[in-house]
């Protein structure tokens, strides 16, 4: 089993269009469904909120690593950092990378998220405590809420 996730999707749109949808913070926010406060820039932490009832208190955070025009956009974040009582700031993050490739069809986008092996022990304990009360159901709910927000 790998500690990373990889997704590949073909998009019927030119690379320039996809690039803008990924790296313009307003456009990113539209399809990702999060309101982000400022433009993405390497080394900067973008913050936003999830505009769904009950989730407004959650802050979405991602620190941009690479912006290589029309080729690579990457950021680090805390996967499922959704407990408002936990300060995730000092913890390891996973790395999310968007790679673009021009193809006849338009654009091939590859997304990878890696580094799940670095999540620290107390979060593991928390994940399993949540699991006892239906952790996977909670995550599903969150995914559904995030998915249908806005």
């Amino acid at each position: 089993m790998s500690d990373s996730i990889e997704k590949r999707v073909e998009l019927s749109a030119p690379v320039s269009r996809v690039w803008r949808a990924l790296t313009d913070h307003r456009e990113f926010g539209e399809w990702f469904r999060v309101s982000i406060d400022a433009p993405f820039a390497p080394g900067r932490t973008a913050r936003g909120n999830i505009p769904h009832p009950g989730y407004e208190h959650l802050t979405w955070e991602a620190t941009v690593e690479a912006i290589e025009p029309e080729r690579l956009f990457s950021f680090r974040w805390h996967p499922y950092a959704v407990d408002p009582n936990v300060d995730y700031a000092g913890e390891p993050t996973t790395l999310v990378e968007f790679r673009l490739e021009a193809k006849e069809c338009g654009t091939v986008l590859t997304v990878t998220e890696s580094g799940f092996d670095a999540i620290p022990p107390h979060r593991r304990a928390e994940a399993f405590r949540m699991n006892d009360r239906g952790w996977s159901i909670q995550v599903e709910n969150i995914a559904r809420h995030v998915g249908h927000a806005g």
């Binding site: 089993m1 500690d3 997704k7 998009l11 749109a13 469904r33 999540i119 399993f128």
Partner: protein
């Protein structure tokens, strides 16, 4: 933290190694096995097998029981399943997000 509670991160770390993945494969296929049994038919020494089994044990993926003077190791499947389920959830979130991206850029 008890071994059973060792979570997905150490599970991923423990499995991020060909040799340990191989040991997990062998243990998943059969009954509890001794260190010498696991070492035979592999390129590993007994010490090598022991070292890797300790890592797997630390992640809650194997447990040992004494049979006479010998320790026998068996696979504990639950942490594997939990780690798998977690990745599946993250994966499903990405599927949703990328479907939205697709309709966003193609409209």
């Amino acid at each position: 933290m008890p071994a059973e509670l060792a979570g997905r991160a150490s599970v991923f770390a423990a499995l991020g190694d060909e040799t340990r993945l191989g040991l997990v494969g062998r243990l998943s296929a059969g009954p509890p096995q001794s260190i010498s049994r696991l070492a035979s038919g592999s390129a590993l020494t007994r010490q090598g097998v022991t070292k890797h089994l300790r890592v797997l044990e630390g992640a809650g993926l194997v447990r040992s029981a004494r049979v006479g003077r010998e320790a026998r190791f068996e696979l504990v499947p639950e942490p594997l399943k939990a780690a798998r389920a977690y990745l599946d959830e993250v994966s499903a979130q990405w599927d949703d997000a990328l479907a939205r991206l697709k309709s966003f850029v193609e409209r």
